[in-house]
């Protein structure tokens, strides 16, 4: 067991054995992670466990997952029934064996249309999120880090956009550019980004004086590098919480636009438009308007529950 290369080889063998003995769970929960990869995996694991322990947040997560699955695998879930085939002889049929949710005023299967409608909802939510979070982060971190004049100008800009009425502005956009998902997304994004800028700015201001930022400056890092690699990652958890909670409201706004006929255009199924179409027959055929509306409600509720759960984990101070 002594002497030169033999000893080194043996100690390496012993270490390898020790590592191999760690189960995946032990590796994730290790108190002293050996690499950044292990540390990231570990914190994700802990966050995931905390989330799953919260029953309501779990319900929210399941609903959101159901939305994504419905959007991705719509043909499978609708059992091959097309949301577009009309059957005027069988229009306004009540829920039954042939049509689980009944048929609408043109004889299209409501269940299939509800499932395919998830695509329009998911598209709007994803697009708005992808636009709004980076823009808000960029503006907020720049304002917080650069300070003085840049900060004042950017915050003034943020305040101006905060004062815009969201739905009415979307209506004006639609009036000018015509209805459609893209215009709805632009209109919603224009008014949805300011809160993220404020959030990112508040977080940035809190950390901009810390020593490690000063250290990176001394090492010669450019402002861009500091902002993107050191400041922004710290703001991400608040942004994610806020984004999830905002998604609930954005779904409602998008559905409202669809209700007014400004979202996805017919014949593409969209929940808000389906509620509007069912409005005329609500007294006798309640299912045409009620079921898509319930889908909107359920998805919004899911995002709210998930967002509340995420906030409890990631930001417990602000209950």
């Amino acid at each position: 067991m002594l002497g030169g290369p033999g000893a080194v080889g043996l100690s390496m063998m012993v270490d390898a054995q020790a590592i191999a003995k760690l189960s995946p769970r032990q590796w994730l929960a290790a108190e002293d992670p050996a690499s950044r990869f292990q540390a990231t995996c570990g914190s994700l694991y802990r966050a995931g466990r905390a989330l799953l322990a919260n029953k309501l947040a779990l319900v929210g997560l399941l609903i959101v997952i159901a939305l994504v699955l419905a959007a991705l695998f719509a043909p499978l879930l609708a059992a091959g029934v097309s949301p577009l085939t009309q059957d005027l002889a069988g229009r306004l049929a009540p829920p039954g064996a042939a049509h689980w949710f009944g048929t609408d005023e043109l004889g299209r299967d409501t269940f299939a249309r509800t499932v395919y409608g998830a695509r329009a909802t998911l598209a709007i939510v994803a697009l708005v999120g992808v636009i709004v979070a980076p823009v808000g982060l960029a503006v907020g971190t720049a304002a917080g880090y650069l300070g003085s004049a840049a900060d004042r100008v950017l915050m003034r800009l943020t305040d101006i956009f905060l004062a815009f009425p969201r739905l009415v502005l979307a209506l004006a956009f639609a009036a000018a550019l015509g209805p459609g998902i893209e215009n709805a997304v632009i209109a919603i994004s224009l008014t949805a980004w300011p809160p993220y800028a404020r959030l990112a700015r508040a977080e940035t201001i809190a950390i901009v004086r810390s020593d490690y930022i000063a250290a990176t400056v001394l090492q010669g890092a450019s402002t861009l590098r500091i902002l993107t690699r050191h400041v922004a990652p710290l703001c991400i958890s608040s942004v994610i919480v806020r984004l999830t909670l905002d998604m609930a409201g954005i779904i409602l706004t998008a559905a409202g636009l669809g209700f007014l006929g400004l979202g996805a255009q017919p014949p593409t199924p969209e929940w808000g438009a389906m509620v509007s179409a069912g409005r005329e027959v609500i007294l006798d055929q309640w299912w045409v308007a009620t079921i898509p509306g319930f889908a909107i409600f359920a998805v919004s509720l899911g995002f709210n529950l998930l967002g509340d759960g995420l906030r409890d984990i990631l930001d417990p101070r602000s209950r």
């Binding site: 209700f259 009620t290 509306g293 409600f297």
Partner: protein
């Protein structure tokens, strides 16, 4: 918002050392007016931004504004002349300034459908939305604030859970859907409320519109039949909007109160012999008034937006219905004018909140 006092006056105050009373008052006045100027400046900037956006949207429209005036069959000469007369040959910045001038004078164009000036139309339809939103916010505040406070006081127990669930449902609910469903239930099936519209056709145009708010006008004229009828029409949409508002206000109040009740001064008050109720309402509650005013302002603003959808469902002849109808008739002047007015009301709400902050928190009264 930093306050830059007028240099001359502050220098005078500094020269005087502690300053006599008159110099103190002068500096206070200077600071207050500087603050007011700064506030008006930011409001003006916001309004400019709003007009820039509406101007830009108007320019993006695919409808050629010249053709809208001269018609399809105009000759090239007439088209060019009209174009110059409308100022469309000038630079974009000049056109924007002309537009801004018109807006400030109240000339928002004429509506294509009603052929009235847009501003007159908006003034005609605004009271209905105002009535709806105001009754809704009153319901929201009257029920939401106590519910939030009591939920925070009983955190973790039965009442808290009820408030949280009720609130959660409230801000996940699409207003147009719940409006439709409740109209179906309470009007279609149960017959508890009169139907859509602001007032039965029987009573329309009977009252002389003094404020435009039917409830107030009917009460002033002593027409209690009309008052009851209008109230019956108002109760359902206002309750639904009120529920939405209540959910948001209760949630935020609860969150603020939980933060306050955790602080040491509450424990101190309890130890010194205050009852729990007293500690909650007289010590903790006044501290949340400032963020609560912000929340109420935000809620009122979102109620105005929610009214757009509610008015469509309940055929309530307000601003929202006017804007959506103009939208479907491609009446750009009306849509943009309506957007400006709604944006202006948002700015007005911000201003009112700023004013209310100073009333609520004595520390904000001094610079």
């Amino acid at each position: 918002m930093s306050v830059e006092a007028a240099p001359g006056l502050s220098a005078a105050g500094a020269r005087d050392g502690t300053g006599s009373r008159s110099h103190g008052a002068a500096t206070r006045l200077a600071r207050a007016s500087a603050r007011a100027a700064s506030l008006l400046g930011s409001l003006a900037l916001t309004f400019l931004g709003l007009t820039a956006v509406t101007f830009f949207i108007g320019r993006m429209s695919s409808i050629d504004p010249v053709i809208a005036v001269v018609g399809d069959h105009a000759t090239r000469e007439i088209y060019d002349k009209a174009r110059i007369a409308m100022g469309l040959d000038r630079s974009l910045v000049e056109q924007y300034l002309i537009y801004l001038g018109k807006v400030l004078r109240g000339e928002l164009g004429s509506s294509v459908i009603t052929s009235h000036p847009v501003l007159a139309d908006l003034m005609h339809f605004f009271p209905a939305t105002f009535e709806l939103a105001t009754v809704a916010i009153l319901i929201g505040v009257a029920f939401g604030v106590p519910a939030g406070v009591m939920a925070a006081a009983r955190q973790g127990r039965g009442f808290d859970h009820v408030v949280r669930v009720v609130g959660l449902f409230g801000y996940s609910m699409p207003i147009f859907w719940i409006g439709l469903v409740s109209l179906f239930l309470f009007y279609g099936k149960l017959g508890w409320v009169p139907g859509p519209g602001r007032i039965d056709a029987f009573y329309e145009d009977v009252l002389e519109p003094r404020t435009g708010v039917i409830l107030i006008d009917a009460a002033l004229a002593g027409e209690w039949d009309i008052f009851r009828n209008a109230f019956g029409h108002l109760i359902l949409p206002a309750s639904l909007l009120g529920y939405l508002s209540l959910a948001y206000i209760a949630r935020m109040t609860r969150s603020f109160m939980i933060d306050q009740l955790r602080q040491e001064y509450v424990t101190t008050a309890l130890i010194k012999g205050r009852s729990f109720v007293g500690a909650v309402w007289r010590h903790a509650f006044p501290n949340i008034l400032v963020p609560l005013i912000t929340v109420m302002g935000l809620s009122y603003a979102s109620l105005l937006e929610g009214a757009v959808l509610t008015e469509t469902v309940f055929a309530w002849p307000g601003l929202g219905l006017y804007i959506t109808r103009s939208l479907f008739n491609a009446d750009m002047n009306a849509v943009l004018g309506g957007t400006l007015v709604v944006g202006g009301v948002f700015i007005g709400i911000n201003l009112t909140c700023d004013f209310l902050y100073r009333l609520a928190d004595p520390r904000l009264r001094e610079a």
